[in-house]
Amino acid sequence: MSADGNIPTLAEAARLIAARQLSPVELTQACLDRVHRLEERLNAFVLLTEERAIAEAKAGEAEIMRSGPRSPLHGIPIGLKDIVETAGLRTTCQSAILQDHVPTEDATCAARLAAAGSVLMGKLTTHEFADGGPSFDLPQPPARNPWNTDHFTAGSSSGTGAAVAAGMILCGIGTDTGGSIRGPAALCGIAGLKPTYGLVSRAGVFPAAFSLDHIGPMAWTAEDCALMLQALAGPDPRDPASAQHPVPDYTAALGQGLRGMRIGVIRHFHETDLKVAPATQKGIDDAVATFRDLGAMVRDVTLSPLADWHACGSLISITERAAAYEEWARTRFADFSERVQRRLMLGAFVSGVDYVQAVRRRRELCAELAAAMADLDVVITAGAPGEAPTLEDVPRWDLFAAPNFTMPFNVAGTPAIAVCSGFGPAGLPVSLQIAGKPFQEAVVLRVADAFEKATGFRAMRPPMAA
């Protein structure tokens, strides 16, 4: 790989590194060259750890030459969303409140990626405390979309989405409370997996809403997400919500095709409840045809209206966020960005009874989804309504502008991935979302991987990354 050459996927790079045909030092340097060339336009990094990256790449290369790679992530350049704590490295949450915050301990996800031998390129741009955004009144500017820098990346894992799409890193950590992995994946044209709640530890990651927060992989392909998830998943005593569930081989079923798979289309979500743009609709229709061609059985499935899922998740999110940040809201309100101030204000309007009714509704919706999926392997809908809007066109109160397609699977805590399903008239990506049953990430990844390999969308990078 060179700064102006092809960007390998994580999986391709891992195979080449294992075969000693790709140097982690050269790979890291090529990624750094891209950062130097593109960062001024993308704002993907809050903190670039160049010296550390080169040192880790050199150490990794020496170890690989001596005894082979520890894992497919060994020698792979990665980034961490800047709400993930990193020992000895500033973790700011992109907030004025934490500009000098230097943790003494790694978040579990950061520690696991380091143990797998990854090369840390730096801390990535986020909406402040993974909320609101895009904001222009923060210590750093918002990330911009590599497909067109006038356009939004979505958030809150905005820097991860931009950096992966532009080839600055091969994969990175995102977090997802209502769609913050899948939204940027959708608008930046990459793959982003929100795992089952509790599968990946939240320890050491600043919360947005305790019961809706998920940590997960963002990368160019579903296969890359599988490799990254392998390093991340598993019980953690530091996270009280950590699931005691065995971790399978997430790559074992990749490439096995879709013959006999049962796929449900939540058609009313994207055709009636919130009608998507024509390019997104075409992407879903084409995906259904592709799945059928690959031997899957596809049928429609009906759930409660999208707005019900959105209302349930939003009320829970508003309340849990207000609780998490209550002390700073009382004492340092003016130090938050305007967008986060607006979110925190809402906490004053949701009563305890409102919250409990939302949690009770959540239980009903979870049961409804489980019943609807009893004879299905996955369900699909849109990943986003259409192409990325411009940064100026993002609504001031986006929570009330429209429901989003990602929240249902935060409410249910079930795994869901966003993958690129084509391009719209402005040349920006559109996205398909594939969701599965709890702990069935391997099934979700299998379907996503088959879709990516049956279509040509992974061959197209943002022009600026060429």
């Binding site: 509790g198 809402l346 949690v359």
Partner: protein, 66 residues
């Protein structure tokens, strides 16, 4: 449907209880979203009796995947 408007006195009380110090402009803007919040609150209220269980936290079990 919960109330879709809010008076200055009620607003002041809720904000004081939350310990938030807002500007006048923020107070006025906040009034504009009360209707949206009310719609959300209505959507989570279903005909359900007192025996309907509260799920205090979501923790999928392995058998959920069966």
């Amino acid at each position: 449907m919960p109330p879709t408007t809010i008076g200055d006195e009620t607003l002041a009380h809720l904000l004081a209880e939350a310990g938030l110090s807002l500007t006048d402009a923020q107070r006025q803007e906040l009034k504009t979203v009360v209707q949206g919040l009310a719609a959300m609150k209505a959507r989570v209220r279903q005909p359900r009796g007192p025996l309907a269980e509260l799920a205090h936290g979501f923790a999928p079990k392995p058998e959920d995947a069966a």
